[in-house]
């Protein structure tokens, strides 16, 4: 049902994207001449640490990735654009729930990053061969499920936390008429509490959900590993399923109706609270899946991955158009590609700055975001 996604909006999105990319290119070429004395080192680091936020982990992987990056026939720009698209897809998975929650309830959920971390931590908990334990319980045990089973279990448990949160926290606050800013502050508190809880439970170390080392194959100008290929397939399939749900199912259309106008949805006989409960479960599950796939793609994860991702998720959702269900997808792809390609010229430490620059640029051109619509009044 591309009719409704409005081709013009997509064309506009592409134009904005090209403009943004050119701007980044311009800025970064200026920047790269400035650090011309160490170009090789800079690009090598940029290449490998594209999506790894912390410096200590990138060091560990430089050895693995360096050989890959230097393999003959690999085009750096193509590889980075490709990495960006992959990262964008995973970011979209993680942030689509953020957008759905914002759309249906108006809440900017700062604890969404922890939902992403939780997914990755749970997958580690179920899959690892190391002994694990539950908070406050004295005994240790090994679960060691196969990855697919661990991932499913993690997503189910994470979805349960979405249900739990809405059942015992957010629905109560809504019923009491607590204002959005107050709710947002609660979510910031929840974010910090969950972050500490995860660290206390799982520890501060970098963890590997899967210990298998990814074989990379040369596909045209890029290198592609099996796990990455599977991750791409899964994220595309899931995002299509979400789109199908929103556009083609009655419940999905009701979700969009609640996003549009909750009071009218109630007046139409839609059980708004039930829809919002469903959105929370979906959002938490999708965030968990995003966290798991990202842990595989990055070949490692940590209790605070989500917290580091939160800004990029907000940027993606805002860029795409706040509350627009497909905005999160478009915004994520733009952010992913821009962030990854910018590391060709700029240091990886600047990737948040690049994301922010793109966000501001796009908002100046299109204040309502790429897919956002300025509704006519009256």
């Amino acid at each position: 049902m591309t009719k409704r996604i409005d081709r013009r909006a997509i064309v506009r999105a592409l134009i904005v994207f090209v403009v943004a990319a050119l701007a980044v290119f311009a800025v970064s070429t200026i920047g790269s001449t400035a650090m011309a004395d160490t170009p090789d080192a800079a690009t090598a680091v940029a290449q490998t640490s594209a999506i790894h936020a912390d410096a200590e982990t990138t060091e560990a992987e430089v050895t693995v990735d360096d050989t890959a990056a230097d393999a003959p026939g690999t085009n750096r720009i193509a590889q980075n654009v490709f990495n960006g698209l992959v990262f964008g897809l995973l970011l979209a998975l993680a942030s689509v729930g953020l957008s759905l929650i914002y759309g249906t309830t108006g809440l900017s959920n700062f604890a969404h990053g922890e939902q992403v971390s939780l997914g990755a931590m749970l997958a580690y908990f179920f899959a690892t061969q190391q002994p694990v334990s539950l908070p406050l319980l004295p005994w240790e045990f090994v679960i060691g499920w196969p990855l697919w089973l661990a991932a499913i279990a993690a997503i189910v448990v994470a979805g349960g936390t979405g249900w739990l949160q809405d059942r015992f926290l957010w629905s109560k606050l809504r019923k009491r008429g607590v204002k959005m800013v107050q709710q947002m502050i609660v979510s910031i508190g929840l974010s910090l509490a969950l972050l500490n809880l995860l660290q206390w439970w799982i520890g501060p170390d970098r963890l590997r959900v899967s210990i298998a080392i990814e074989e990379r194959r040369q596909v045209g100008p890029i290198q592609l590993g099996d796990t990455t290929a599977v991750s791409i397939a899964i994220s595309i399939a899931v995002l299509l399923a979400v789109a199908y749900f929103l556009l083609r199912t009655r419940l999905g259309r009701a979700t969009r109706a609640v996003s549009d106008n909750p009071a009218l949805a109630a007046a139409s006989g839609i059980k708004v609270d039930a829809i919002i409960r469903l959105v929370w479960i979906m959002a938490a599950s999708l965030a968990a899946l995003g966290g798991i796939l990202m842990a595989l793609y990055d070949s490692g994860t940590k209790f605070d991955v989500g917290a580091k991702l939160l800004l990029l998720m907000f940027a993606a959702v805002t860029l795409g158009g706040l509350g627009q269900p497909f905005g999160a997808l478009v915004g994520s792809l733009v952010i992913g590609v821009v962030v990854e390609t910018s590391t060709l010229w700029l240091g990886p430490d600047l990737k948040y700055a690049t994301a922010l620059a793109i966000l501001i640029l796009v908002l100046l051109v299109r204040p309502q975001g790429i897919l956002g619509r300025a509704e006519r009044v009256g």
Partner: protein, 242 residues
């Protein structure tokens, strides 16, 4: 008409948005089956609040509402929809990012089975909308939106329809169309309670009018009587004559 069984009775309603602030202080209304009721009154009198209170969107603190003998005070909106009450709010009464067809689908959310048949039936009432049912409601003009809003509320075949200023913001021709259509819908057996700014036009077509002032239903009479009432003329109609 007035001799028919009352279908909806509101008895001394006290209601408001914020704790301790009553917007309605003692609103009463008795509506017979098949009647077309017009509610007029100055801005801020609480007309919209009254409709919202009937529909369970504003908490009622005292008083009762009964529908067909059943107590519906403070019932949830989705339950009222199931019981045959339809409501068209004054503003924001469509889903802008949904198509016309999807808007109507949401109107029939609780009875999705016979959707297509019902959709065709309602579209016969609004031929202007039928040909463009894939258009987003957000791109429609004010008058068209009003039509979508009314069509949405009719999807569940309500026995009582609450309309909040359906003619507001429309051109005179469109306003007339709205009144005629409201009368037609009423003739099919739907009891209609309509709030209107256009007091004269409203009183001309309705069976009975209520005057609401400062949160109280001041008085009621047939539309024709109210049109001739010197006090109503002075306060709400402005001038004598047509």
């Amino acid at each position: 008409m007035a001799t028919a069984e009352p279908i909806l009775i509101a008895d001394d309603i006290i209601a408001g948005y914020l704790p301790g602030v009553d917007i309605l202080n003692g609103c009463s209304m008795e509506v017979a089956e098949g009647e077309l009721i017009g509610i007029i009154g100055p801005n801020g009198a609480g007309k919209s609040t009254f409709l919202k209170a009937l529909f369970g969107l504003v908490p009622i603190r005292e008083g009762t509402v009964t529908l067909g003998g059943q107590d519906i005070t403070n019932k949830r909106a989705d339950e009222l929809v199931r019981m045959g009450v339809g409501f068209v709010p004054q503003t924001n009464n469509v889903f802008p990012s949904l198509t016309i067809r999807e808007n109507l689908e949401m109107g029939a959310f609780q009875a999705s089975k016979g959707f297509q048949k019902q959709f065709d039936k309602i579209m016969d009432l609004f031929p202007d909308l039928a040909s463009r049912h894939h258009q987003r409601a957000g791109s429609l003009s004010g008058g068209e939106r009003q039509m979508v809003a009314m069509a949405r509320a009719l999807m569940m075949d309500p026995s009582v329809l609450l309309l909040d200023e359906p003619s507001a913001g429309l051109s005179p021709v469109r306003q007339d169309e709205t009144f005629v259509r409201t009368r037609e819908i009423n003739k099919t057996g739907v009891t209609v309670i309509m709030v209107e700014q256009n007091a004269r036009r409203c009183l001309q077509i309705c069976d009975r009018g209520y005057v609401l002032d400062q949160g109280t239903s001041a008085y009621t009479a047939t539309g024709q009587e109210l049109l001739k009432d010197p006090k109503v003329i002075e306060l709400y109609l402005g001038t004598l004559g047509a």
